[in-house]
């Protein structure tokens, strides 16, 4: 982190001096370079649990100040072969599953657009499972310091290696969009103390229908994720030792935990609505994820922001509730609600400063928190965040 901060600061300063558009690197404008980043600072008042942005983060922001959770840097290179065919490669450095800021290739695809109504992409693509999910690390693109954690924090994947196709059809002055995608993926997520879950995704496929009318964009989406799941960490290690005492049962921790969680087949149903007219921005989303063990995760949020000159104050309400075996309130279930208040200040046309206060009501502690005290039953926590977002 100490090494990353000066780099980020340097880029932020450079961004100040630059135009906000993707800059052409060649005279013919075929090769472009652009990027985005966030310098984030969090204050957590809870001594009992550490705050995370999403389940890919092995450690959270503990009591006091931390810069790890939200700080990130991304860069994109594009090359246009013809008006119909181009390629995009994008990398990102953020605190993620490897426990450090090691950069990864987030997208690398060929895009073919033979007609405004048809787009095909092949390669590594953003996982466009919810509205805004494939731009959730681009802080400059939204009013908040980070997208609502209760809703976006549970996403298992960031990218898919595969194909997608998008059809667009105008209907009067409205627009209907259908996107279908399929591919493979890999990810490591942290869902509890001492358990790391490895998703080896054989098949991820789905699609969504968007309807755009005036300032409104509505979305209905469905996705299925089929994976080989394995576990590592203290809990599966101890479980394996216990299971080894009875060799006749021929069971491993992967079998037992796999059956209990049912992550091998996930189905995600989502609804979203965005309203964007002049200074007013409204968002509402809802998702239900089902596991093969009949468990579910319900999450959603509503957000409203209103721009007054350079300042956009906003309010957000979000919630998440998990239910194992179809019933909530059981051992290991997670439930919380978050009330957020914040403001975005546009310093320049490519840099925004944000401040946000989250009042989190943890009704049953769970997998979005780290290093949870064993005797903690939840309660109210305050997370105060500062963010400096920039594009270049």
């Amino acid at each position: 982190m100490r090494r990353l901060l000066p780099v980020c600061l340097g880029i932020a300063m450079a961004a100040l001096a630059c135009a906000a558009e993707a800059r052409p690197l060649t005279d013919d404008g075929r090769l472009t370079f652009s990027g985005f980043g966030t310098l984030g600072l969090i204050h957590n008042n809870l001594g009992e649990a550490d705050f995370t942005r999403d389940i890919s983060q092995p450690k959270g922001a503990g009591e006091g100040w931390s810069a790890r959770t939200d700080s990130l840097l991304g860069a994109q290179v594009g090359y246009r072969f013809t008006d119909e065919l181009d390629t995009v490669v994008q990398g990102i450095s953020r605190y993620h599953d490897s426990g450090d800021f090691s950069p990864e290739v987030s997208w690398a695809f060929l895009r073919y657009r033979p007609d405004p109504g048809l787009q095909l992409r092949v390669g590594r693509l953003g996982w466009d499972v919810y509205q805004l999910s494939d731009s959730r690390y681009v802080g400059y693109a939204y009013p908040w310091v980070r997208p609502p954690v209760d809703h976006f924090g549970t996403l298992q994947l960031t990218y898919i290696d595969g194909v997608d196709v998008t059809f667009k059809q105008p209907v009067g002055s409205d627009l209907v969009l259908l996107k279908l995608y399929a591919g493979r993926s890999k990810s490591d997520v942290f869902i509890g103390e001492g358990i790391e879950t490895h998703f080896d995704v054989d098949k991820v496929y789905g699609g969504h229908v968007d309807y755009e009318t005036g300032p409104w964009r509505f979305r209905l989406g469905y996705t299925e994720v089929k994976s080989d799941i394995s576990f590592s960490g203290e809990v599966p290690d101890q479980l394996d030792q216990l299971l080894a005492l009875n060799p006749y049962a021929n069971l491993t921790a992967d079998d037992v935990l796999g059956d209990a969680y049912g992550f091998d087949r996930l189905r995600l149903y989502s609804l979203g609505a965005v309203y964007d007219q002049g200074p007013l921005q409204l968002q509402a989303m809802w998702n239900r994820s089902k596991t093969s063990a009949n468990g579910s995760v319900d999450s959603g949020f509503v957000s409203a922001g209103y721009r007054i000159d350079r300042v956009t104050p906003y309010v957000v309400y979000s919630q998440i509730e998990t239910a194992s075996d179809g019933e909530g309130g059981g051992e290991g279930d997670f439930k919380q609600k978050t009330y957020s208040l914040g403001a975005r200040y546009d310093v320049t046309a490519n840099m925004a400063l944000k401040a946000q206060l989250d009042r989190v009501h943890v009704q049953r502690p769970g997998f979005l928190w780290r290093d949870i005290d064993s005797d903690w039953n939840g309660g109210w926590g305050s997370i105060f965040s500062l963010g400096l977002d920039f594009i270049f």
């Binding site: 405004p116 693109a141 667009k168």
Partner: protein, 142 residues
Amino acid sequence: MNRVRRLLIASTLSITTVVSASAGADIAIVVNAGSGIDHLTRSEAVNIFMGRYRKLPTGNVALPIDSSSLKARFYRALVNKDLAEINSYWARLVFSGEASPPQQIASSEDVHQLVTQNMNALSYVDSAHVPDDMHVVLTLGE
């Protein structure tokens, strides 16, 4: 009576002059005079410049061009947003690999050249200064 009427007419005329003078400072979306495009609706213009659906009424792919000197006025008139909001909008689409913003051209001479040489190009000019070889497809009031 006559005098009152003359005064009324005079004041009406002067109001009309004021109104038309401010209308002269509107923004005109322009295309190549030979493009065959008569006019665009506001939602078609929004679709093209905001990258939602870039098809011209002729069936060709639209090539929108942002003219740097008028860009702030244009997007204020088109979608009531300032440049920071427009950049924020494009950050989402560019960094999710979904769409690209219009080509950015700094000099108005270059904009003029691109539009008059390409049948599918469209840009915008101050409606008080529309060159003869460009055709206005939509005027946005400011």
